[in-house]
């Protein structure tokens, strides 16, 4: 089952990653397999339960809800609110936005003028070079956060640099990474993007140690799993940050976590991020806008407010499978950030369930 040629191979991914999706799906058997005599034509023809489920899915389904960005409701424009809002627009676009662009530009200048020399001149002194580059990356991220007037409250102990630990967080937008990076320089695993973002990825993020994956490559998973394991073993590497949802979700729900981060045999430190939509919705709906547009939207709003909780590190309990572990951590994060859990794989955004899943649904 192909969907416009974007993704072909994910059915195998869905197989391995998802625990028993039919447990979550409502049972759809319309036929009782009784021995002859009890089955009547009426029972055979009555497909109403299955049809009701299908109609229910058409009317509203828990998967699409995860990626819905709610449009703002119209306001009550009256004699004092409307001019106030107009003034606000004026202030945001013509005063605040240019200031922010200026701040960001200054930040970039400082960053590049320090980063490039350090990168090339200190080639021999790796340790020193890395620690300076780390601080510089943290600095440029702070500049970024300042450029949207990010008000971030951090709760919990700051991440420590220890080997054999990974950090996992829920994912709403690419800015999640920037918000977390400004506190601690993480190494991150990301989808390689085109355009200027890709350029940034290959130059600056390389210095903090990043791992690339490609959703559309089938074999990619094994390569990535190997790279993850190598990274985590290294004592010198920056702590690794993983977004196990695999895609941006709208900060009201969490989709299922991929188990890759949970089978590395190390401690998992959950991080929960919750954005306050009071001024702007930080959810990056990648189907609706490019990242640049999203960033501009953030930069022309009053502020981006969010809370970050660093939660208690978790280990695999004896007798627990990686998938159960992933679900347990997802539960911890969702509870903390007030998100609802849905039993879907985020990659279904890019592909369709294969006929195999339909077969499995029949059996329940």
């Amino acid at each position: 089952m192909n969907s416009s040629g974007v993704l072909k191979s994910s059915s195998s991914e869905l197989d391995l990653d998802r625990p028993n999706i039919e447990d979550y799906l409502p049972s759809g058997a319309a036929i009782q397999q009784e021995p002859r005599g009890k089955l009547r034509l009426h029972d055979l023809l009555d497909i109403s339960p299955t049809l009701s489920e299908a109609a229910g899915a058409i009317v509203d389904d828990s998967f699409t809800r995860c990626f819905k960005s709610n449009p703002p409701e119209p306001w009550n424009w009256n004699i004092y609110l409307f001019p106030l809002w107009c003034f606000g627009v004026f202030a945001r676009y013509l005063i605040i936005f240019p200031t922010r662009v200026l701040v960001l530009t200054i930040g970039w200048i400082i960053f590049l003028s320090s980063f490039i020399p350090v990168h090339f001149l200190l080639k021999g002194h790796d340790k020193l070079r890395r620690s300076i580059e780390r601080s510089l990356v943290e600095m440029i991220c702070s500049f970024f956060v300042a450029s949207w007037t990010g008000v971030v409250r951090y709760h919990g102990p700051r991440p420590s640099r220890r080997p054999k630990q990974v950090f996992v967080a829920n994912h709403t937008s690419m800015i999640d990474f920037i918000v977390l990076e400004q506190m601690t320089a993480f190494a991150v695993i990301m989808q390689k993007h085109p355009g200027w973002v890709g350029l940034l990825q290959s130059t600056i993020l390389e210095s903090v140690g990043c791992i690339w994956f490609n959703r559309s490559e089938a074999k990619d998973r094994e390569i990535v799993a190997r790279k993850l394991r190598e990274h985590v073993q290294g004592a010198d590497n920056n702590p690794l940050l993983i977004f196990p949802e695999g895609t941006c979700v709208n900060n009201h729900y969490t989709v299922m976590f991929k188990k890759g981060a949970f089978e590395l045999g190390c401690t998992v430190c959950p991080v929960a991020i919750k954005y306050n939509k009071i001024f702007v919705d930080a959810f990056w709906n990648s189907r609706k806008q490019s990242f640049t547009k999203h960033l501009l939207q953030l930069m022309t709003s009053w502020a981006v407010v969010c809370d970050v909780w660093y939660l208690e590190p978790q280990n695999l309990k004896p007798g627990e499978t990686p998938i159960e572990f992933a679900e347990r951590v997802r539960d911890i994060i969702s509870t903390r950030a007030g998100l609802k859990m849905v039993p879907w794989d985020g990659y279904l955004k890019y592909s369709r369930p294969s006929p195999k899943h339909r077969e499995r649904n029949i059996g329940s």
């Binding site: 969907s3 034509l41 009426h42 497909i47 049809l51 009701s52 109609a55 899915a57 009317v59 449009p71």
Partner: protein, 175 residues
């Protein structure tokens, strides 16, 4: 971004209500319109059947293929008319008509043995062999007074399913 900028006027809502014979309340129609706009991603005024497959819950439904046949290229009025069979306010007859349409693959008003076999196959998949299916279907048809070669029409369906309480409803979320 959101598509509620293309808002429904009160006239539109009433017109749609007439079209679906008041199966939905006005609030439900507004909710369904938001859903329609969500599914109609390219804003072309109709939903390509492909789009329904991007709903995982729908795609794993055993009858999705049969339903897709009925769902092609729907505009909003047709979308509502389609879903009106699932409203608690629709009549039993309407629901039975809908079920009949699902079976009647070639839309000729007659449901053959093969049509029923197709739906049975969708529902049972690999849990029954083709031979078993044919046997069960033939047996059950005979018990009800039909043969393998008879064609069932709508009135037959009414007779068979008519005196049961058919539960075929989907709730429209109204916020």
């Amino acid at each position: 971004m959101g598509n509620t900028s293309s808002m429904l006027t009160q006239y539109d809502i009433e017109e749609v209500q007439q079209h679906c014979k008041h199966a939905f309340t006005q609030q439900e129609i507004v909710s369904l319109y938001q859903r329609f706009c969500q599914l109609d991603r390219n804003n072309c005024g109709f939903i390509p059947s492909d789009e329904f497959l991007s709903i995982p819950e729908f795609a794993v439904n055993p009858l999705s293929q049969s339903l897709l046949r009925m769902l092609d290229g729907f505009n909003f009025k047709e979308f509502i008319a389609f879903l009106s069979a699932f409203s608690p306010r629709s009549t039993l007859q309407h629901k039975i008509e809908f079920i009949f349409k699902v079976y009647d693959t070639d839309c000729n008003g007659k449901v053959s043995f093969d049509d029923m076999l197709t739906v049975l196959r969708d529902l049972t998949g690999q849990y029954m062999s083709e031979h078993q299916r044919k046997e069960v279907l033939a047996q059950v048809l005979e018990e009800a007074g039909y043969t393998k070669d008879s064609f069932l029409v709508l009135s037959d369906f009414m007779k068979i399913l008519g005196n049961s309480d058919l539960k075929m409803e989907a709730e429209v979320p109204v916020d």
